[in-house]
């Protein structure tokens, strides 16, 4: 197992490198990073030339890429193109914020989706099952930004009507969030709506997978064997059926976890959350390659780790899978 994990990590290094190269190349294709600076009236040609040379922007893209790569070990991710602020502290902050949002949303989604999936499968074609199916199709079809806005409207109206603020509709924290427990309560009240927004689509997806997987398993011979032993229906469902049905679902959730770590761009934008997605969009708009590359590297590593975790979990849940 350890050997396998190590081998997988080593194999992912070229994958991450290749993805950084591709993205670096494509970002530099999007145009001149200095275009905005050039349009600014109070910046001289000498200043522009200085930035271009010091950053190596006059060099071919491949050379720029190698320069960027070499700078990582000693210089972290360096500074922004337009000022001397360092990228890494900002990235750490937004990563931390996105992690809070995504971990909470994923864990809740998994719990809700597995429950819905199992119950729907056990009561196939019941009213409950049809309701869940309908909900799932709504979840899939609903534009995220629309749902987020509707949530904001609802909670703003509740506040206006009753003067009771249940959840905040924007930002990560109040201006003075306090410390300790008060801070986390405040954080939760800010994150609740973004979490709900993210959950809608995750629950819709995962519960469909769980239902399908569970349906396959509950009609299998070994579940009948478990019943023939005289086990309680609950034990049959949880121990004999669910454990098998979880195998494909775990893979899907672990993979999607890596992907959403890049940031839920729409959700973070609507709620004004200082997270990975908003960070990426901001610097993409500014055509600053350095924060984008730093963001990409973090995201790519997250995806690789999530893949690895998915595979290891797979082996843990299914004894037929062996890693040696």
């Amino acid at each position: 197992m350890a050997t396998y994990a190590l081998r997988r990590v080593l194999v992912s290094i070229p994958v991450v490198l290749a993805s950084t190269f591709l993205v670096f190349f494509f970002v530099s294709l999007t145009g001149d990073p200095l275009a905005d600076l050039r349009a600014a009236p109070n910046i001289s040609q000498a200043q522009l030339d200085f930035v271009r040379e010091s950053r190596g922007l006059d060099q071919p893209t491949a050379v720029q890429y190698v320069r960027w790569l070499q700078s990582i070990p000693g210089d972290g991710f360096g500074t922004y193109l337009r000022n001397d602020n360092r990228i890494w502290p900002d990235l750490q902050r937004v990563l931390g914020n996105t992690l809070q949002l995504v971990i909470a949303a994923e864990i809740l989604s998994i719990i809700v989706a597995i429950t819905l999936g199992v119950v729907s499968a056990k009561r196939q074609y019941s009213f409950f099952d049809y309701s869940t199916t309908t909900f799932s199709f709504f979840g899939f079809s609903m534009p995220v930004f629309w749902f987020a806005l509707i949530l904001q409207i609802i909670f703003v109206n509740i506040f206006l009507a009753t003067d009771v603020r249940i959840f905040y509709t924007a930002n990560l924290s109040a201006p003075n969030p306090g410390t300790g427990l008060a801070f986390w309560v405040d954080r939760f009240r800010h994150l609740a709506l973004p979490i709900m927004t993210l959950m809608v689509i995750s629950v819709a997806t995962y519960s469909r997978y769980m239902r399908a997987s569970m349906l396959e398993v509950i009609h299998s011979d070994y579940v009948r064997t478990a019943r023939a032993k005289g086990l309680r229906e609950g034990t049959v469902t949880v121990k004999h059926a669910m454990r098998n049905a979880l195998i494909p679902v775990v893979t899907i959730t672990a993979l999607s976890f890596g992907t959403v770590l890049g940031g839920a761009i729409v959700t973070e934008t609507v709620f004004g959350l200082d997270g990975m997605g908003l960070y990426f969009i901001r610097y993409l708009g500014q055509r600053d390659p350095y924060p984008i590359m730093a963001w990409l590297l973090v995201t790519a590593v997250a995806v690789v780790i999530a893949n690895l975790v998915a595979d290891l979990l797979y082996g843990f849940l299914d004894p037929r899978i062996r890693y040696d």
């Binding site: 009609h219 299998s220 011979d221 070994y222 579940v223 009948r224 064997t225 478990a226 019943r227 023939a228 032993k229 005289g230 086990l231 309680r232 229906e233 034990t235 121990k239 004999h240 454990r243 098998n244 195998i247 849940l317 299914d318 004894p319 037929r320």
Partner: protein, 346 residues
């Protein structure tokens, strides 16, 4: 005679399908006596498995439905028990070995654990005791190196080994009735013999009455004391194993026996049963076997009147309108086959 341990009375099990209702079990009655081995034979779809699944309450409902009859086990009607009461019978008083050992064990749980679980669900056995007892059981059913095998997963077992594991699981609580549903069908011929030996041994050990479901008449001849022949969801003939093989009183039974390949006699040819097994949605009118029956020859009575199961000898019953013509029929088949039906069971 002693009281039967299991008595199935007038059982009707149906399945609702988009094409119509499947009459899988159609007014079936038979008894199982303590200590005996009852062989149930029939083609695929004759209702032999569905009958025993109904006994254990393992029919998925819906689409299945038990719409008539009673299943008396030690005097209690299993169909009237609550789920909790029925659960106490399953695996404890009635053990079951399923057809396909490749899919009947849970792939993600250790085999030993699955056997121990069967014990622990019915009695308060501590883990270490359950483990020891499981290892004993595995040794009894001939799993070599049982200690190490306890901690292996089903995919590390061969097909024959898995079926041994299933048998160990079925007898873990020393059941009074053991149901083996085509226990050897999915196995290699060489392994079949070994598994049958294990099954006999398990039966000796527990002295359980056994229902052996199979379409293999050779197996019936070797293992069974009494035989129930099923066709189209109905019982068509029952009797002692010798009687059934020597003096079959139903043309379907005769058809089964004469289509059996023989190693010990120089047969000119086998006599197949013409036609297809009946559709359980639209059973033929009258006697379900009449479209394929050599004896009936499309007689009016066969087409219109369903024959009741009547006494034709000592503990021998047959559901045929023309049982008295069976002697001539046997002679006819014998002349066609160029050999005697006698001695099939040797």
């Amino acid at each position: 005679m002693t009281e039967p341990i299991l008595s199935i009375r007038d059982l009707v099990t149906e399945f609702a399908t988009p094409d119509g209702t499947v009459h899988a079990v159609d007014h079936v009655s038979y008894d199982v006596y303590p200590g005996e081995t009852l062989g149930v034979v029939g083609e695929s779809g004759s209702g032999k498995s569905v009958t025993v699944m109904s006994v254990l309450g393992l029919i998925p409902q819906p689409p299945g439905k038990i719409s008539n009859g009673e299943i008396l086990f030690e005097g209690r009607d299993l169909l009237r028990l609550s789920n909790a009461q029925l659960r106490k019978v399953r695996g404890k008083d009635i053990g079951m070995v399923f057809q396909d050992p490749m899919t009947s064990l849970n792939p993600v749980l250790k085999v030993g654990h699955q056997i121990a679980e069967a014990m622990q669900v019915h009695a308060d056995v501590p883990d270490d005791k359950a483990r020891l007892r499981t290892i004993e059981l595995l040794e009894l059913v001939g799993v070599p190196n049982a200690e190490a095998r306890y901690d292996q997963y089903p995919h590390e077992y061969s097909g024959g080994m898995r079926q041994r594991g299933m048998i160990a699981m079925a007898i873990a609580n020393e059941p009074k009735l053991l149901i083996a549903d085509e226990p050897t069908t999915a196995l290699d011929v060489t392994i079949q013999a070994q598994v049958l030996e294990v099954l006999s041994k398990a039966k000796e050990e527990t002295n359980a009455a056994t229902i052996l479901i199979t379409h293999d008449l050779g197996l019936i001849a070797e293992m069974a004391d009494r035989v129930v022949v099923m066709y189209g969801g109905r019982v068509v003939e029952t009797g002692d194993v010798d009687t059934i093989f020597h003096e079959p009183r139903h043309p379907y039974t005769l058809g089964l026996i004469s289509s059996l390949p023989r190693l010990d006699q120089d047969l000119e040819r086998l006599v197949p049963i013409e036609g297809q097994p009946p559709s359980l949605i639209n059973l033929p009118s009258g006697c379900a076997f009449h479209p394929r029956c050599h004896l009936g020859q499309g007689r009016e009575r066969c087409r219109t009147e369903s024959p009741p199961l009547v006494e034709v000898g000592t503990a021998h019953r047959s559901a045929c309108h023309f049982t008295d013509e069976m002697g001539r029929e046997i002679a006819l088949i014998e002349s066609e086959m160029g050999t005697a039906i006698e001695g099939v069971d040797q």
